[in-house]
Symmetry: C2
Subunit: 190 residues, 2 copies
């Protein structure tokens, strides 16, 4: 998506360790108009799949997910990274965070993920694919159908797409901007 | 706001300890259309104030905030509850969480909160007012002007509104639904 690519080139920062800092418009400050345009693109890309629910994970996935949910007129569920004391029965999966270099759990209440749901997973980044596979695990536990995954930014050099293709053959993966290389303050896009 | 009140009466759950569980449409599963309607109401209520930026706190504030940001065509900043390793210089304030009964820090990068900003704070709940006062503290540190606060749900019996009025006289507080009493599975609204 051209608008997002231009914004990454303008305001993204390449940091040591393969980190792309986009906290000017995605991860801390949000460009809500750009996020809306990204959400329109997700809805367009997955329009044929009969999505009944959008799944994301707190916190940076919520903005594009809720905008896509609004446009597609479906509910959005954001997986939690800690068990709220008001959550009774839930599905849980373990995820390794590349950026934070630690494992964490993601949880979804059994009330909000069910057999029969046709789930579109939306998130800010596709890097190693760990959060995406954790989400697929939650869907499998619930018997829900994962119909596709949409990411704002994919870091192609971290192998997430291949890992998803190997574990979830047939599940379409769409990224609105694909970063092919980062380094020395430079950002290369596909 | 009538739609939100009706939804709280239909799907909200009154739990022991003054907790109102609304994870069916706000805190875990999001009704994105209802959130959009709430955002429209926030934008209408604060239209005269010349808002330049919306501030919220991860995670449950993000959905109404980004929708209001989209409608008002202003950026949204969500305060973080942990320091990301990519965040350099930031403002920090301490907040006591009623629901989780513990203290946590909220942080905003100095890059995204500045003197001259006219800030509307949006959040899901107003209870004891601690998160709101922490946000006001961040704005004061930055020299930004807090022009108002909007909440989806206020629990009137926890005193947040009075605490804000005492500490921030003249800052308007708007809640779209006001809960006057909780208990025995019953929810009373103003």
């Amino acid at each position: 998506m051209e608008l997002l690519k231009q914004r990454i080139l303008k305001d993204g920062k390449s940091l040591p360790g393969g980190i792309l800092k986009v906290d000017n418009f995605i991860n801390h400050q949000l460009d809500s108009v750009l996020m809306y345009q990204c959400a329109e693109e997700f809805v367009r890309l997955f329009a044929a799949q009969g999505v009944t629910k959008i799944l994301t994970v707190e916190a940076s996935g919520i903005a594009p997910a809720v905008l896509a949910g609004y446009l597609a007129k479906v509910p959005v569920v954001f997986a939690k990274k800690a068990t709220p004391k008001t959550m009774d029965r839930h599905y849980v999966a373990k995820v390794h965070s590349f950026t934070k270099d630690r494992d964490y759990d993601i949880l979804v209440s059994k009330e909000y993920l069910k057999a029969g749901d046709r789930i579109l997973f939306i998130d800010d980044f596709l890097a190693c694919g760990n959060a995406a596979l954790g989400m697929a695990d939650l869907c499998a536990q619930a018997g829900a159908t994962l119909i596709g995954m949409g990411f704002l930014v994919e870091k192609a050099f971290q192998g997430g797409r291949d890992k998803i293709a190997a574990r979830l053959p047939g599940v379409p993966v769409e990224s609105l901007a694909i970063v092919t290389a980062l380094g020395d303050g430079k950002i290369e896009l596909a």
